[in-house]
């Protein structure tokens, strides 16, 4: 089938095309919504097909414009294909949720086209093999997510000034990180002479063998840690997250916390294990220290919050620390554990944000001090929230238990006893604060739960169905984890051995 060879570029080209169609079909809102859902389902099927192709046939490379390694190369290895699959699932479910949740005026003007640009940016970030193209797609993600942060929900709980302040902070801090990224990419290009990631890995390998590795690659690597750490919101660079994620509408919060933070972790894995492979062992304690500091800061800050979404946002900061500990430890098992933790956090945190969106939609306020005893009127939402909490804290039989177990096992078998001890202690903080917020919202004395009677809406079937699908995924991974562990072990082996990646793009050159 000749047309399916181009699957890897359809993942990026179709959302761009559909974004333009969304603008042109603005007089017909019904057609706009149905077209968007249809394209989302098509992208999901294509990402499953791409993943199965990569699993069977090895790494797929695709030159744009037939320029070869001098142009832009799109590469799908197991890590890229699995991240694209994850992002397709989460964006599809968030789209189903947002059809009834977002204000009609916002949906009609800019929401759907910006949503498709966001999907295009995500797929492009995960599939590109060129460092400057990564930068361009980071910019597309930044601008699209800023436009989506300002979209209005049907329930008016966030005043416009809060949204403006959050967007301002998000934009300024990320633009400063963009400046750093430009300087780092320019320095790397000036030293190595190429922008292709596989080609860079080859040249650093040659320089290392000849003994002429220039010293200024080490500060460049530090700059890259700053850049990708800012996207992933680790310890000293996390200040934009507790403002941006709560004030966004709930499906956009789910995408931001679920997938956009993971873009930073993905970039970090690519730059650390592919380009600078084997030359950066001195950075290992730094990464583990940053991960631990992130866990400590995130878990402690989440305990005293009064706003549902701020608790979840601080937990997002904390959980990314676990992923960075896994990346820093460096063994195959630890890297596979980091990937399982990433997948688990994406699905669980998205589900928790969507559940809080349902609560907000029904009740009309985000403040936990004013809500109480909700389980008498909303038992289904209570159950969904409980499933999400169990998954984030790591209780069996959910997928969070598998993720935490594998991560701690990898740490102990790798010999990192003290970091794992600290991580275990602070995961108890996570457990405590999550259950405290569950208890405050759903149990306790029944307060007057309906605010501003003209502001409440009923939760519709499409919103609840996305929650049910996510619950099913969490329980399936929790009870039958063997395929997932096998996939991530294979992925981790592929990450740690970049020769396969280089072979797919530049045949015949040995590292």
């Amino acid at each position: 089938m000749n047309i399916l060879e181009h699957t890897i570029v359809f993942m990026i080209a179709i959302p761009f095309l559909v974004a333009s169609l969304m603008i042109l079909t603005r007089p017909f809102p019904e057609i706009q919504k149905k077209l968007n859902v249809l394209v989302s389902i098509v992208l999901l099927i294509l990402s499953v097909y791409l993943f199965s192709q990569v699993w069977q046939n090895g790494i797929i490379a695709y030159d744009i414009g037939d320029w070869g390694k001098y142009g832009i190369v799109l590469v799908a290895d197991l890590l890229s294909a699995s991240m694209v699959l994850l992002s397709s699932i989460i964006t599809f479910l968030a789209l189903l949720f947002s059809l009834d949740y977002i204000d009609d005026k916002s949906q009609n003007t800019t929401y759907h086209s910006l949503y498709n640009l966001l999907i295009a940016g995500l797929n492009g970030t995960f599939l590109t093999g060129d460092l400057f193209n990564l930068f361009v797609f980071f910019e597309i993600l930044l601008i699209a997510s800023c436009g989506l942060l300002i979209a209005n929900e049907k329930v008016e709980i966030t005043p416009s000034s809060h949204k403006m302040e959050a967007v301002y902070k998000y934009l300024i801090l990320n633009i400063i990180a963009t400046l750093f990224m430009l300087v780092a990419i320019a320095s790397l290009y000036g030293t190595l002479g190429t922008l292709n990631m596989a080609d860079m890995a080859l040249r650093i390998g040659y320089m290392n063998e000849n003994g002429t590795l220039p010293w200024h690659l080490i500060p460049t690597a530090l700059l890259f840690i700053v850049v990708f750490g800012n996207k992933a919101a680790i310890f000293p660079l996390h200040f934009w997250l507790p403002d941006a994620h709560p004030t966004a509408p709930s499906p956009i919060s789910a995408i931001l916390s679920g997938i956009l933070i993971k873009v930073g972790a993905y970039g970090f894995i690519r730059f650390y294990y592919l380009i600078f492979e084997g030359n950066l062992e001195i950075f290992q304690p730094i990464i583990i220290f940053l991960g631990l500091a992130t866990i400590i800061i995130g878990s402690i800050s989440a305990v005293g919050q009064d706003d549902i979404k701020k608790v979840l946002a601080y937990h997002s900061i904390g959980q990314i620390g676990y992923v960075f500990i896994g990346i820093g430890m460096g063994t195959v098992y630890a890297l596979a554990a980091a990937l399982i933790y990433l997948i688990n956090h994406a699905i669980s945190k998205s589900m928790l944000f969507l559940v809080s969106g349902c609560i907000v939609h029904k009740i009309g306020t985000r403040d936990m001090r004013k809500i109480g005893g909700l389980s008498s009127t909303e038992p289904f939402l209570g159950l969904m929230f409980l499933v999400g909490i169990m998954s984030i804290s790591g209780l069996p039989p959910t997928s969070g238990f598998i993720a935490k177990f594998v991560l701690f096992d990898a740490g102990i078998s790798g010999g990192f006893y003290i970091p794992i001890l600290i991580a275990v202690i602070f995961s108890l903080f996570t457990l405590f604060s999550m259950f405290k917020s569950w208890q405050r919202i759903f149990w306790g004395e029944i307060k007057d739960n309906i605010f501003e009677k003209e502001n409440i809406h009923q939760n519709s079937k499409t919103m609840l169905s996305s929650l049910v699908i996510m619950t099913v995924i969490i329980f399936v991974i929790g009870l039958y984890a063997e395929p997932l562990i096998a996939i991530t072990l294979e992925t981790a082996e592929q990450i740690l051995d970049p020769q396969l990646y280089i072979d797919a793009i530049i045949p015949g050159e040995v590292r």
Binding site: N2, V9, A13, A19, L24, D63, I64, G65, D66
Partner: protein, 137 residues
């Protein structure tokens, strides 16, 4: 008094600037130029028009919906890429021929001009949509 000077100069500068933007777009393939800077020049020209004549007066005789330009430009750019997939090559592969025009002699025409016009319309639509929204606020 000062606005009269600005308006008279704007009446001269705006058409020249539009010609400059189209010229930068068309020679963009082998020389400096291209769709992006052409779009920025066009947006500068139209924003000079908005500044010197005021947004309300300008809307009376010239009021296009800029987001349609954005959408149409994006459609054109991606259609240029997908067109090369239909022809059997990878995305965005372009080809060139030589045309014989009566006054200019032999001119090289590349099929990347469709993509460049798409980028031009995207930049115009994006920048002027933002300016107009900010001006109305």
């Amino acid at each position: 008094m000062t606005t009269l000077i600005t308006q008279t100069i704007a009446k001269v500068v705006v058409p020249l600037c539009v010609f400059l933007s189209i010229s930068l777009l068309l020679t963009g393939h082998d020389q400096p130029g291209g769709g992006f800077i052409g779009g920025v020049m066009f947006a500068t020209a139209i924003s000079l028009l908005y500044i010197s004549f005021g947004l309300d007066d300008s809307k009376k005789f010239f009021n296009p919906d800029w987001s349609l330009y954005f959408g149409f430009g994006l459609l054109l750019a991606t259609a240029a890429g997908i067109g090369s997939i239909i022809a059997g090559y990878n995305l965005l592969r372009t080809d060139y021929t030589y045309l014989q025009l009566p006054l200019f002699g032999e001119v090289e025409l590349s099929s990347a001009i469709v993509f460049d016009i798409g980028v031009y319309l995207v930049v115009i639509g994006g920048l002027l949509f933002i300016f107009k929204k900010m001006g109305e606020d």
